[in-house]
């Protein structure tokens, strides 16, 4: 048995809109994050991956359901009761420009966690901060500089240093490399994986970029309109793709290899992602799915092992793909017979 560090149980997160409707950002998600692993969360804009991540870190209150960290329910804790747990659960955000106060010096930004948790002060704090700066590849002499004096990649290192200050157990990385150029992106990905090994960290890694998620994750959950449609170990998700949406997502990803680009099957989904205020009935993907049948619109599929998959590979689909099945010629049939 692997140790469960964080458990998400049937979490829903809804946001009210001006017109009395609600946006169902997360619509009933259950999953477990195991100690020491990297769980990737992937999906397109509005699929709820960032909302789910914020529920995991209890930055959002859940609408219903619960989140458990090391066996303790955290989703209903008050801010004060949550504070000691903040040492264990940290977040790295996407925007290295927006998440650092431009008027504060880098040393004091990275030193904040020590101040908030009364851990170190004065010269001791400075020493700890400089150690952290060194650890993430920043020059410790730049302690007194402002965020504006750093490049995007360096700012993301500042965010990483701040998140790691208190030696957390779980780090939620919300699109940590999406704003960076590819050569810099690779530096940060390597840094995160070095730190994981060194400090035995567990990551939840959120990205819209499948190639990045594939590289860093042990397991991947694919989200669509607030739901997980497929959850599997990385190699299985790519080798034995079951959900038509996962397949479409994989096939839409441009590959930096002309031979593959010229020869591969490409499934181009029709239409746009439907609105999360009024999601489609049944399987939420049925309006765009090449394999959709009448019952897909009527009933909602459960996330469970399909065909002969092991329990670790779960798919929410009535008509899962077999290995080698050609989806590019599939035609939906939503008419009553």
């Amino acid at each position: 048995m692997t140790d469960v560090l964080l458990k998400v149980d049937d979490v829903r997160k809804e946001f009210p809109t001006h017109s009395k409707e609600v946006v169902q950002a997360v619509a009933g998600v259950s999953l477990e994050v195991h100690k020491g692993e990297t769980l990737g969360l992937v999906g397109e804009t509005g699929c709820g991956k960032s909302s789910l991540a914020r529920c995991m870190a209890h930055l959002y209150d859940v609408t219903s359901g619960s989140v458990w960290f090391e066996g303790q329910e955290i989703s209903k804790l008050s801010r004060k009761a949550m504070r000691p747990l903040r040492r264990d659960v940290q977040v790295i955000f996407q925007d290295p420009y927006g998440s650092l106060n431009p008027r504060r010096r880098v040393g004091s930004i990275i030193g904040d966690p020590f101040a908030i948790h009364n851990i170190a002060s004065g010269n001791e704090r400075k020493k700890k901060v400089q150690e952290l700066m060194e650890l993430v590849g920043l020059n410790p002499e730049h302690y007194n500089r402002f965020p504006a004096e750093f490049s995007g990649g360096q700012r993301q290192r500042i965010g990483v240093a701040r998140a790691l200050a208190l030696r957390p157990k779980l780090v939620i990385c919300d699109e940590p490399v999406s704003a960076l150029d590819v050569s810099i992106q690779a530096q940060i990905i390597n840094l995160l994986s070095d730190l994981q090994r060194e400090f035995d960290l567990t990551y939840v890694f959120i990205s819209h970029d499948l190639s990045v998620v594939r590289h860093v994750s042990d397991r991947i959950a694919v989200m669509y309109l607030g739901k997980i449609v497929e959850l599997a170990p990385t190699a299985e998700l790519f080798g034995q793709t079951r959900h038509p949406y996962t397949r479409a997502l994989l096939s839409a990803l441009p590959v930096a290899d002309p031979d593959t680009a010229d020869s591969r099957e490409q499934i181009i989904l029709g239409g746009d992602i439907p609105s999360a205020t009024n999601p489609p009935s049944g399987c939420r993907f049925h309006t765009r799915c090449p394999k959709a049948r009448l019952d897909c619109a009527a009933e909602e599929p459960v996330l469970e092992p399909v065909l002969d998959d092991k329990p670790g590979h779960r798919t929410a689909c009535f008509y899962p793909l077999t290995v080698g099945e050609d989806l590019s010629t599939a035609v939906p049939d939503l008419k009553a017979s």
Binding site: V182, N190, H215, L253, V255, A256, P258
Partner: protein, 325 residues
């Protein structure tokens, strides 16, 4: 003669901190009906160069030539440029929401654009043409949606509207500056597909500016790799990916998340400031193969193989295969 011939384009901006040399001697050709991808990271000068060609960098110091159909776009007056932009050269940008006027219906905006260039056409005919264009780029129920406002469209649909507008007057050249960067991958695939289809149908040449090597592999005929305002390497698509010569091109490709769980090989360091550039090769400070010769600026020269393949690097060309593999 190529449709567009850019020679030794230089663009710089005066700022309080000093002169930013954004583009430093850029030359390239775009052939009719072909796609030229210009790839590079933030600040490589890829966008500034095409904006300069179309007269959109006011206040910049510009030199060089850019012959389009016999007209030098660099020295052309605003009236000439205005006649060409939109009609002969279509443009689409990364963010379709800020390129469309939020308070006018999209049909009105397309009609306005057609009538600005075609003084003869009636309103009705222009509107009919606008509806046809929207259908052409794959907007469902175009005849109804023509009266919608930009905010009523999704990001992907807005980019289609932009493409419809850019293609309205059947331009010979379409400049697409990061057209799919703000879009999700499934929507990106749709939009790239529309561009490919229109190119086949109308023989439009495309300059595709992107940071995404995946998009380059899917779309390009030829590729220009830019770094710090200059061309590092230029070659047909397959040569860039399989027979590249420049360490920067190789570094970019090696930085991509690999298919295996192997460690990534990033390019160390960060790009140089465009205000105080090094005298020699701009990539030298980050290059793993740097040697004494690199303190002199390397010229862009043929590397052998395909005659269109050139690299700005002092490394010998016979080690080409060895370094690439």
């Amino acid at each position: 003669m190529a449709l567009l011939e850019v020679r030794d384009l230089r663009v710089s901006f005066d700022t309080p901190d000093g002169t930013v040399r954004a583009v430093r001697g850029l030359s390239f050709d775009v052939e009719a009906g072909q796609t030229l991808a210009v790839v590079g990271e933030s600040g490589s000068g890829k966008s500034v160069s095409t904006q300069t060609i179309t007269g959109l960098t006011r206040g910049a110091e510009v030199s060089g030539t850019a012959y389009f159909d016999g007209t030098d776009l660099i020295t052309a007056d605003q009236a000439t440029l205005r006649r060409l932009r939109g009609a002969r050269i279509g443009m689409i940008f990364q963010d379709p929401l800020s390129s469309l006027h939020p308070q006018y219906r999209i049909g009105w905006q397309i009609v306005e654009m057609i009538r600005a260039h075609d003084l003869e056409i009636s309103k009705q005919a222009a509107r009919k043409r606008a509806a046809e264009l929207l259908t052409l780029v794959g907007i469902p129920r175009a005849a109804e949606r023509i009266d919608d406002y930009p905010h009523q469209f999704s990001g992907g649909m807005r980019q289609r509207v932009m493409i419809a507008m850019a293609m309205a007057l059947d331009p010979a050249l379409l400049i697409a500056d990061e057209p799919t960067t703000a879009l999700d991958v499934t929507v990106q695939a749709q939009v790239l597909n529309v561009m490919r289809r229109l190119q086949e149908q109308f023989g439009t040449a495309i300059i595709l500016i992107t940071h995404d090597l995946g998009v380059v592999a899917e779309m390009a005929d030829e590729v220009v790799v830019m770094y710090a305002g200059a061309v590092m390497e230029r070659a047909p698509r397959r040569d860039i990916f399989y027979r590249n010569h420049h360490p920067y091109t190789q570094g970019l490709l090696a930085s991509l998340p690999a298919r295996s769980g192997d460690r990534l090989t990033p390019i160390q360091g960060t790009p140089p400031s465009l205000i105080s550039l090094p005298k020699g090769c701009p990539f030298a400070a980050r290059c793993a193969h740097v040697f004494d010769k690199c303190s002199e600026p390397p010229p862009l020269v043929d590397v052998g193989g395909d005659p269109r393949h050139q690299s700005a690097c002092w490394l010998p060309h016979d080690v080409n295969e060895a370094v690439a593999s």
